[in-house]
């Protein structure tokens, strides 16, 4: 009996140190192998490209939303802001005749502007983040439709002169061989986000604010400024997401984007970001996003329609959070060091 409990203790300690960090990546690898074994044609280069292609835009906004969640807030507007900025950029190019590169910068600027507004509403005007970003979610959806006059915006095709920007996210050679270069862009943005979160004052302040806002304030931290910056980052990633969406899908419809924010939040949560703030990693978020993408690509290969993806994503979110709660509970039980009674 004693031996058994000792063994359990060792297992528990192991799980406390490492399991959380390796659980999500391990789940991703296992899922990939699972679909590879049981799905049709899953282990193929095309599927891989497909997985990468379908995860850019959610990936970008998930990184941004990770900043906001770590700061102790939530951003429901990232999805619609992304689509709003994309459609405004498309309208600028097509209807107003702006040059391509300025239109792309406009997409980024619109995203940042919305982030700025969210940040002001939350940090200065003290609106609860849920309400503030629920409002901007609807506003951005409306703004996109108004600017585009309820018409879809079509970006140039790859063949046309202004189609160069598509190669940023996907390189297609003359022989039709394609490289998902967008993955590198996503990793690049993720790396910058990682550096900001861990190596700069801003990142550390965002963690401190999310962990204990009042303590941060009483340490002389400019809480308003840095809390706002988290939302600005989310806005910026929504802008980058908008560019990637335009590049991959070419046509942007008005009033799209609702629901994307929930996938972004789900990605962050699966990756171990805590909704109560102060805990989270960019790496975890990327893993979360790819778990969802693999589900999306893998389920059809097992003759399950794509909408099963939402079902299973929901299951994954719940399991991930349950595991997290269970783990922290166990950790606190160990800390109190109550004598075991078995």
């Amino acid at each position: 009996m004693e031996n058994l409990s000792k063994k359990n203790n060792i297992l528990q300690n192991l799980s406390d140190i490492g399991l959380q960090r390796i659980l999500a990546p391990a789940a991703l690898v296992l899922l990939y192998i699972f679909f590879g074994l049981f799905g049709r044609n899953f282990f193929s280069y095309d599927t891989m490209v497909n997985i990468f292609d379908s995860s850019y835009y959610i990936g970008f906004i998930a990184i941004g939303v990770t900043f906001v969640i770590i700061s102790g807030g939530i951003d429901l507007s990232v999805g619609t802001v992304m689509m709003c900025s994309a459609i405004i950029g498309g309208t600028a190019y097509k209807t107003w005749g702006w040059p391509m590169w300025i239109s792309l910068l406009l997409i980024l600027a619109v995203g940042i502007a919305f982030g700025f507004i969210n940040g002001l509403l939350v940090s200065r005007l003290k609106l609860p983040p849920f309400i503030a970003t629920l409002g901007t979610m609807m506003i951005s959806m409306g703004v996109g439709s108004i600017v585009a006059n309820v018409r879809s915006a079509t970006f140039p095709t790859r063949a046309s002169e202004d189609g160069w920007f598509k190669s940023i996210f996907k390189y297609i050679g003359d022989d039709g061989f394609s490289i998902p270069t967008g993955a590198f862009v996503l990793f690049g943005v993720a790396f910058i986000a990682f550096i900001i979160l861990t190596k700069t004052k801003m990142g550390r302040y965002i963690f401190a604010i999310g962990s204990n806002k009042e303590a941060a304030r009483l340490s002389g931290v400019d809480v308003k400024k840095w809390e706002m910056m988290a939302y600005v980052v989310a806005g910026a990633t929504a802008g980058i997401g908008g560019i990637s969406f335009a590049a991959v899908y070419t046509t942007v419809m008005p009033a799209q984007g609702q629901g994307f924010e929930l996938y972004a939040i789900a990605g962050a949560v699966i990756g171990g970001t805590s909704l109560s703030g102060g805990i989270g990693t960019v790496f975890g978020t990327l893993i979360g996003v790819y778990i969802m993408s693999v589900l999306r690509a893998g389920l059809p290969s097992m003759d399950l329609q794509a909408h099963y993806q939402t079902f299973f994503t929901g299951v994954v979110v719940i399991v991930a959070v349950l595991l997290d709660i269970y783990r922290t509970q166990k950790a606190s039980v160990i800390k109190i060091a109550t004598p075991s009674k078995e």
């Binding site: 700069t200 004052k201 963690f207 401190a208 962990s211 204990n212 941060a216 009483l218 340490s219 002389g220």
Partner: protein, 505 residues
């Protein structure tokens, strides 16, 4: 009627231990029908613990409770109330958005049609009748939140009394009341006493104890000191019973601050809310200025105003002779003030972050190049302070929530030392910390002032005040009621000022 017939409650040899703390050491207390019995003692003397043992918040370890002539084992608070023991806490526990009548009869609503529908009419009548019995004049249909604090408290008393009470416990009921309201409260208390309700009255205000109570029981450090008839005992006697004669630690005999030490902080007529009225004092370089007083005297509020955490209404603050404007903690920190909160988990620490993250939190500006943090330098400086303050942690990356209270406190101190703050406000620096860590923090404070830092130390422990301070400021009810040099200070003189009501509201 013989006396034993009249005895409602008798508590004998009540003992209670928490982990590491012997909170009640064989305490006695009894209460007669219609008696108002004061229970007094310093903060932490065991008054609340005693009342919690009586009302079933937690069980006693040993001792006897005799209630209405029978051995009594309190169940949960709701059962206790139904059995006739009610308690009015300092903070009101009612719902602002409901009417007076709804608040009083919540959970016991009048109904009709076999319990399906609320009978507002009947409830209104019940409330009016209750108020009539208590000579209270309050509209049962008024929203509770629209009443003054004093009236709300009366509603709470009415609610308790509606349970047909034998014992009513009042825990500092006058703390938030104006003088008129206090008088009204006393009238109601005398009325209840005439009806035979025994009352346990917890208060720090000596004048009120003289005015309203029949007997006084004094507790000190969880021990029973004695019970006196109020008429036979003077204020000074009660105070000396409260503070006791035993000195556990040698108090400081004289100030360590040299004559003519420069003034680092001058506060002139600071006002900030109800609890900070006309506060003026000076702090000299190398001085530990003790802020003594009872809980709720306004010391923490003063510190928070000074630190920019709460809004300052008026008054001037000079640092090193220069007039400064402090509107936020950022300002205060940039002027070299550091604040160690009394509630470190809420206001001092991000317990979900690491030791190093917490220690460096106020000082990132000093350890970055505008773009990146100098991780190596941060590690060097934090590990240096971890060593100097003897913070026991397995590593700099350990999460703060896994450290003991004393070590957490040291991390907060490290935070301000890394920031190189010159004026340190220590608000209850040793609260919830074990004895060993306590004396380490004392040693550290003495080292700091030797290095030329200045410390404002807020403490509710008189021995701590006397042991550490060079000078003492005593506050009561939001005002400074006394200033003492360490040479003149004694537990009695401090308590005298601390229980003084200098101005009525």
């Amino acid at each position: 009627m013989s006396e034993t017939n009249n005895l409602v409650l008798s508590m004998k040899n009540i003992d209670k231990r928490f982990t590491g703390v012997h909170a009640l050491k064989g305490v006695n207390f009894d209460l007669y029908e219609g008696e108002i019995h004061a229970l007094v003692g310093e903060n932490g003397a065991g008054k609340s613990t005693m009342m919690k043992a009586l009302t079933g918040i937690f069980p006693k370890d040993s001792g006897d409770i005799i209630y209405l002539g029978k051995p009594y084992k309190p169940g949960n608070p709701k059962e206790v109330l139904e059995e006739g023991i009610g308690i009015i806490h300092q903070e009101l526990n009612m719902m602002d958005q409901l009417t007076v009548a709804q608040n009083i009869f919540i959970g016991r609503e009048s109904t009709k049609l076999g319990g399906l529908i609320l009978d507002k009419e009947a409830q209104y009548k019940r409330t009016l009748e209750l108020f009539g019995r208590l000579n209270m004049d309050i509209d049962p249909l008024e929203m509770l939140g629209n009443l003054t604090v004093g009236k709300q408290q009366m509603v709470e008393i009415a609610k308790a009394v509606s349970h047909d009470l034998k014992i009513l416990i009042l825990d500092e009921p006058t703390a938030a009341l104006t003088e008129t309201e206090i008088n009204e409260l006393f009238t109601i208390m005398r009325d209840l006493a005439a009806k035979g309700v025994g009352m346990i009255y917890i208060s720090h205000r000596m004048d009120e104890i003289n005015q309203i109570t029949d007997r006084v029981t004094v507790l000190r450090d969880g021990e029973y000191v004695g019970t006196k008839t109020t008429l036979d005992v003077s204020k000074e006697e009660i105070i000396s019973m409260m503070v006791g004669r035993v000195i556990y630690e040698e108090p400081k005999s004289k100030s360590n601050v040299p004559e003519g030490a420069e003034l680092v902080l001058q506060v002139d007529k600071l006002n900030a809310g109800r609890m900070v009225r006309d506060i003026s004092f000076d702090l000299r370089k190398g001085e530990i200025l003790g802020f003594a007083g009872l809980m709720g005297a306004g010391r923490t509020e003063t510190a928070r105003a000074l630190f920019g955490a709460d809004k300052i209404e008026s008054g001037q603050i000079r640092i090193n002779g220069e007039l400064v404007h402090i509107t936020s903690p950022m300002d205060a920190v940039s002027h070299g003030i550091g604040y160690l909160s009394e509630d470190r988990k809420r206001y001092g620490l991000a317990t979900g972050l690491s030791v190093s993250d917490n220690a460096i939190l106020a000082s990132y500006d000093m350890y970055e190049n505008g773009l990146f943090i100098h991780a190596k330098q941060v590690e060097k400086v934090t590990s240096g302070f971890v060593e100097r303050l003897r913070i026991k942690t397995p590593s700099l990356n350990q999460l703060l929530k896994n450290l003991s209270g004393g070590n957490q406190q040291k991390v907060v101190i490290a935070k301000w030392l890394i920031k190189n703050s010159d004026i340190l406000i220590f608000d209850e620096p040793t609260r919830g910390i074990d004895v060993g860590a306590k004396s380490e923090i004392y040693t550290l404070m003495n080292e700091l002032v030797k290095d030329g830092k200045s410390i404002i130390m807020i403490s509710s422990e008189l021995q701590e005040i006397l042991r550490m301070s060079d000078r003492i400021v005593v506050m009561s009810e939001g005002r400074i009621t006394g200033k003492l040099s360490i040479e003149d200070a004694s537990q009695e003189s401090i308590m005298k000022y601390a229980t003084m009501q200098k101005y009525k509201n």
